[in-house]
């Protein structure tokens, strides 16, 4: 496999691409993420001109009794201790999404509904956002081009509180 790749891509060229991807992943995308949150999406959310999105349906547990008086059974609760592999993967994910990153959305901002919504929306478009910055804005999927919809969806879901 490597012979096949290095027949067409010179190894130093591949090394340069790897270095660039790493620098983008570690520093440039978080920088862009924070600037977009600070300059565009949090002010837009505070001003209240997010696009209108439908509120998500209420969860079945809160729906109340069915017309015949019966209630839907509650979804099964997850086991207290997760399997080891899941724990390891969750830890590894946490490494990359750690809030100690100085460039990520500031923790003070996540206290407000808008900052929290923007932070969660960025978390939900993690890889798309990274590839968007890595490709120097040439790859712009829908979730990135209309990111304000994502913010509005998180805000409407109520997990960050009401504005």
């Amino acid at each position: 496999m490597w012979e096949f790749i290095f027949r067409y891509v010179p190894p130093p060229l591949a090394l340069g691409l790897i270095i660039y991807s790493l620098v983008t992943f570690l520093w440039l995308q978080p920088l862009i993420e924070r600037r977009q949150a600070d300059l565009i999406f949090i002010p837009q959310c505070e001003a209240g001109d997010l696009p209108r999105v439908a509120a998500p349906p209420p969860s079945p547990a809160r729906q109340g009794p069915m017309p015949d008086g019966s209630t839907l059974p509650a979804p099964p609760t997850p086991p207290v201790e997760l399997p080891l592999g899941v724990q390891i993967i969750a830890e590894l994910k946490g490494l990359f999404r750690d809030d100690t990153n100085p460039y990520s959305v500031p923790p003070g901002a996540t206290g407000s509904p808008c900052g929290c919504s923007v932070a969660i929306a960025f978390d939900r478009t993690f890889w798309r956002s990274h590839i968007h910055v890595m490709s120097l804005r040439t790859y712009t999927p829908r979730a990135i081009a209309h990111f304000d919809e994502r913010v509005a969806q998180v805000l409407a879901s109520g997990i960050c509180g009401r504005r």
Partner: protein
Amino acid sequence: MHHRIKVFFDNKRGVRVTNRVFSTRMRDEDLNAIISVKIGRDPLYIAGVTGLALALFAYQFGDLLYPDEQLAMLFGGAALLSSGYSLVSLTIGTIFNEKSVWWNNYWTAQKVRKAIRDAKHVAGMGNGRYLPATRPNSIAERS
């Protein structure tokens, strides 16, 4: 038989090309063993990708960067590109073996390469040890 040492390159820091050897500070290479000399441009590839990408990043995301950040990224990219252009390795090929023996700037490395070429032309006229100096040897000239 007395052989005169002819010097083709000497930079007073231990790097020297004579009609017998190519010497760097810590190593001597017999010219007879050298069958190819190449200017290795690996730094140009690495710095070309990263420097160009950094400059393009500063251009593409200019609306989200402060002007001084943008300028710093542009200059950083330009510095990477120019240093990647000027830093080269002198890669010497012996039989079944190719190794980078010396890193320096592009222009000096080209001078050394030319010096080795000239030295081997003179050595081809008879390096003294293996072939008679009087008669130009076709095998030596072919290499």
